[in-house]
Amino acid sequence: MEEIRVLSPTAILGYGFPVSSFEEGLRREPHVIAVDGGSTDPGPYYLGSGKSFTQRQAVKRDLRLLINAALDRRIPLIIGTGGGSGARPHVEWNWEIIREILAEEGRSARTAVIFSDIPKELVLEAIKQGRTAPCGPVPELTPEAVDSAVHLVAQMGAEPMITALEQGADIILAGRAYDPAAFAALPIMRGFDAGLALHMGKILECAAIAASPGSGSDCLFGRLGKDSFILEPLNPARKCTALSVAAHTLYEKSDPYILPGPGGTLDLSAAEFSELPAGCVEVRGTRFIRSPQYTVKLEGARAVGYRTVCIAGVRDPIMIGQIDAVLQAVRERVEDNFENIGDYFLHFRCYGKNGVMGELEPAPSPAHELGIVIECVAPSQDVADTICGIARSTLLHYGYPGRKSTAGNLAFPYSPSDFSVGQVFEFCVHHIMELDDPTGIFPLEWRVIE
């Protein structure tokens, strides 16, 4: 085989894509359709809560097109990081959508579901043996952090997907996966260069974001040859340029030359980007440097309490002139009122002052009006509601020095003014773990619809 063709429909399953672009892609006879389902970008809530950050109807719309196209052509459909975060509840949520589509369309398919939840005992043992390390500026992994995680996943490489392909999967639904893996699995299985396959996957996983103008909701096509790969936009409104593709290499990572992943590092120091006719770009020179020890990245999130927020505006210039002192006084009143209620986190965010950048803000002088978000996170929703409510009522009627506006200090856009937003999570594991077998910890389950 001289060339392997990969169709990437959209940056995240559920972000959508134009059918016309997708059909252009199908006309080019792809060997595989691959799509990335997830990201940590939306924050720890989704991994922690087990919920998807994409909407069910949107995912179902995308998947129906992908499943029908793949089954019609007898090419595999590979979904990486199912359900957004790739833990078991996310994967099962995604599987339920697939099952529903297959039933509605009256189709049969063999789906390989690959889970990425990691047993805590395994990680605790790895800590003991010194086989874990921080991934970036995070503290060393502790048994407490592991124990506190609600969901703990590892990013699988292409290997478990290759196993599923070898066993004849029509659809692969993977848990948490290294983003390029879904795109690189078939090429690597067929013996194409891993460096080029993974680099192509790295770009395809964001679909048309690497084109110009960029879009997270449009398709991109990849052709991988023996010593280069070519990217092709499928919408006449876009083209790939050497700059747009090279620039995408910078996106969301700290070093564009050295990209560590499961089992090794992608080295782009010799990568070359050249423009071809018809808005295509050819990339060559990327190398995959296998590391002596296979590693995976672990991700975990834990619950930290329940949140209540209140949104209000301030327009009074006298109050705005002393806003920091006013908020500090209100905080003290609240603390004084509820000395025995236990721990809670009370926070005032001032939009129009430093609401966006917090302590990084170099110019924290207030505007003529401020948006204030009062927030409380506490061990129970009841305590969060109570503290947020008392902070709101205290601020509303607080008599600051020189006050002329004695009827109330806050403009509320909503009734009710306070919102109980439920559980709050934080990332507690973001570490590398050594592994001897790249497939063993990712159990594969067959779900066959006849």
Binding site: P44, G136, L250, E252, P256, V304, M357, F425, F427
Partner: protein, 100 residues
Amino acid sequence: MRYVRDVAAVIRSKNAGPFELTFDLMFTDKQVFDEVRRSITPERIAELYRIPVEHVLKIVHFEPALAVKITIVRPRPSGSLGETDVYGAQQHAPLFELTF
């Protein structure tokens, strides 16, 4: 003295994972890129963001995109208590004040 904002085509910020914040400055002219990149040092970034210089993790010059990439420690892990910008997409404005 000139402002980087007047010569850069792209000035952006984004999470690089939940624990790092990364800035990209991209240029369209090789000569400008060469001139500007010399003046971007960890010390200047630390001063601009009022953070310790050791929190500036990396400054990389990426020739294929005529880009300078700066990565700093996130003020807090993405989405943890006190968060102001979960995606880290609006932390770039101080770079508008960079001069060369």
